[in-house]
């Protein structure tokens, strides 16, 4: 009886896993979170590239370098 219960549990766990995957798929908040994170990373990369361009344009002036570093984290 108890072994059957254990088998029932193991079968339930196996069947529950795909259900969790399906129910997790339309979890938009999680997707949004990833999207926001991706956007943040992309923005950071773009900011760094812009920083490099700005540094080139400014002729490597130290005070502009300081501004650029702050802007990358703000």
């Amino acid at each position: 009886m108890i072994a059957q219960g254990v088998k029932g549990c193991l079968a339930f766990s196996d069947s529950a896993a795909p259900e969790a995957t399906i129910s997790a798929a339309p979890d938009l908040p999680t997707v949004d979170k990833f999207a926001r994170r991706e956007a943040t990373i992309a923005a950071a990369i773009a900011g760094s590239l812009a920083e490099q361009l700005a540094l080139q344009a400014a002729g490597r002036q130290p005070w502009l370098t300081a501004l650029a570093m702050v802007s990358a984290y703000a």
Partner: protein, 185 residues
């Protein structure tokens, strides 16, 4: 310039790996990895050899002590529980005072709180009648617990004993060996 771009790319890749790791790790731990923990009293002591026979290939961790009540069996659970276990057999309540089914309810709730969404096996109880109070209250607790928790398995040991009282030992608590014990396993 090229070195800085490379550093940015590496940094972005590391962040992506961290995010992916954080997303995957809890899911992998949620249901354990297939192991089974069995805790209980003397009935489970009698049953465990048959579980090992009937569940070949399943990693069983067993911890059962004769005469233990559900408080003590909860302590056995705490000693032996590992998140890698997927199924928890909590075979308790037979030695609890039937006047206080809330004791079993409390210990079941504590186990459930610790194991998360792992599946549990909780047999119904055939125990002594004390001062005219039988095991109906404890069995209501078991059924109510199972109803509140998706997937919980309830082997009906009390029902089996009611149908086959002749298969019990003279103490009317333990099954004679081997047939009914085999059936319980």
């Amino acid at each position: 310039m090229r070195a800085r771009r490379l550093a940015i790319a590496v940094w972005a890749a590391l962040i992506a790996l961290l995010i992916a790791g954080a997303a995957i790790a809890p899911a992998a731990q949620a249901g354990g990895s297939g192991g089974v923990l069995v805790v209980g009293d003397s009935l489970e002591v009698l049953t465990i050899p048959y579980l090992q026979r009937y569940l070949p290939g399943v990693t069983l961790t067993t911890n059962a002590v004769g005469g233990y009540n559900s408080y003590q069996i909860y302590d056995l659970f705490r000693e032996s529980y590992d998140p890698s276990q997927s199924v928890i057999v909590f075979d308790a309540g037979t030695n609890d005072n039937p006047a206080y089914p809330e004791i079993l309810a409390g210990n079941l709730a504590k186990v459930a709180a610790q194991v998360g969404d792992r599946c549990m096996v909780v047999p119904t109880i055939h125990g002594f009648t004390v001062n005219g109070i039988g095991n109906e209250g404890k069995n209501r607790v078991v059924r109510s617990f199972a109803a509140s928790r998706l997937g919980t398995q309830v082997p009906d040991w009390a029902g089996a004993v009611a149908v086959h009282p002749e298969l019990m030992q003279a103490d009317d608590l333990h099954p004679i060996r081997p047939a009914p014990t085999t059936a319980r396993g």
